[in-house]
Amino acid sequence: MKQTRTLPLSRKLLRSVCAVFIWMALVTGVFGLLTGSYFSGAAWTGLAVVLLAVVLEGSLFSRLENKPLPLASFLLVALVILLIGASEIINMLTTRPALSVSYIFDALYSLGFIVLGGYAASQLLRQSR
């Protein structure tokens, strides 16, 4: 029978990945609210706040901590973070700076993702070693 390689899920990794997602949800939500997309804006902002509360509360993470996860779980998250990170870097390099709400949120979103996503990716790499 084929053995699947598993790795323990660390609290630090969970938090770093959640931090990226919270950042994305928060910026998307606030941008949506400011530009008239009230429904999606409220949904994303609400999701960010709920997830932030879950992270700060910590009991869910305590249950998930040290659960053995197949390597594919880590690879899936790492792949998506890398794909989005590449897009965001290209976006930052190709978008002309401008004094507009759209550009400021664009830059905030990309910069935040690159910083937090980079940290999460380093945690994923460290975990999978």
């Binding site: 997602f21 999606s40 996860l69 197949p70 792949l79 965001e88």
Partner: protein, 260 residues
């Protein structure tokens, strides 16, 4: 509590506070994209010396306004008078344009129209006849029809272009919103998929969540390309709008120079 826990908590709370603080600031400081709106917000009080002998038309909009404000205070309303924000006659309604640039019949005498434009010094007002060539366009000497070179025509052009700019801004924001939503969805699918697949099903649905995540990422990338293209279109439209605003101010100055 662990030091690392405290650090992550600090990062998260800082991000939240920063976003909440920056968002309203960004909006209040950057929302009035039109130069007219910005000029209106920062309009200084107009100072003038009522010395008609020193009237020069080199800086027509301001000097003509200064010269005739004194006369307007004592004479009855008539075409050919310039006003400031403080003493302008009221209009019954804005027939064309907006608060920054436009025209409309005066309440006091509907046969006298007020026209106005805004520049860095504020909004300038001038009265013309309801049938003025400068307002409605000059007449063709052959068939007596109006040429499309009046103040009203430039205002119409301005209005159309301003609407195009507004529509394009909405389009840019829409693509931006969809890009963020798609990328957020991609990561969400990867996190939830990875956890559910790993913890609950032992990996049975990795492929499904992987396809959803990559599909959402691709959609976000496509929206980003659309956004860049829409932003270029917006830049072009804003240059065109600026050029029409310059023409409007030129037409206003010409009206004062030629007469009502």
């Amino acid at each position: 509590m662990k030091k690392q826990d405290l650090r992550l908590r600090f990062v998260l709370i800082s991000g939240l506070v920063f976003t909440i603080a920056v968002s309203p600031l960004a909006v209040t400081s950057l929302w009035p994209s039109s130069a007219f709106a910005a000029a209106q917000l920062a309009q200084p009080p107009i100072q003038f010396t009522p010395n008609v002998a020193e009237l020069r038309l080199t800086s027509i909009a301001l000097t003509a306004q200064m010269a005739t404000v004194a006369a307007a205070a004592t004479l009855s309303l008539a075409p050919g008078q310039a006003y400031s924000e403080t003493n302008k006659p009221k209009v019954s309604f804005i027939e064309g344009g907006d608060e920054g640039v436009g025209y409309g019949p005066t309440e006091e005498d509907p046969s006298v129209y007020l026209i106005w434009t805004t520049d860095d010094a504020g909004t300038h007002y001038y009265t013309v006849g309801a049938d003025s060539d400068q307002l409605r366009g000059t007449r063709d000497p052959v068939n007596n029809s109006r040429e499309e070179n009046g103040f009203v025509h430039v205002i119409e052009e301005y209005k159309t272009k301003a609407q195009e700019v507004s529509d394009q801004e909405l389009l840019v924001n829409r693509h931006q919103n969809l890009r963020m939503t798609s990328h957020g969805g991609a990561l969400g699918a990867a996190i939830v998929g990875g956890l559910i697949c790993g913890v609950v099903t032992g990996g049975a649905c990795y492929v499904a969540f992987g396809v959803v995540a990559v599909g959402a990422w691709l959609s976000g990338a496509a929206q980003n390309a659309e956004k860049v293209s829409a932003q270029e279109g917006l830049d072009r439209l804003q240059v065109q709008l600026g050029s029409i605003e310059d023409r409007l101010r030129g037409k206003f100055d010409q009206t004062i120079a030629v007469g009502p």
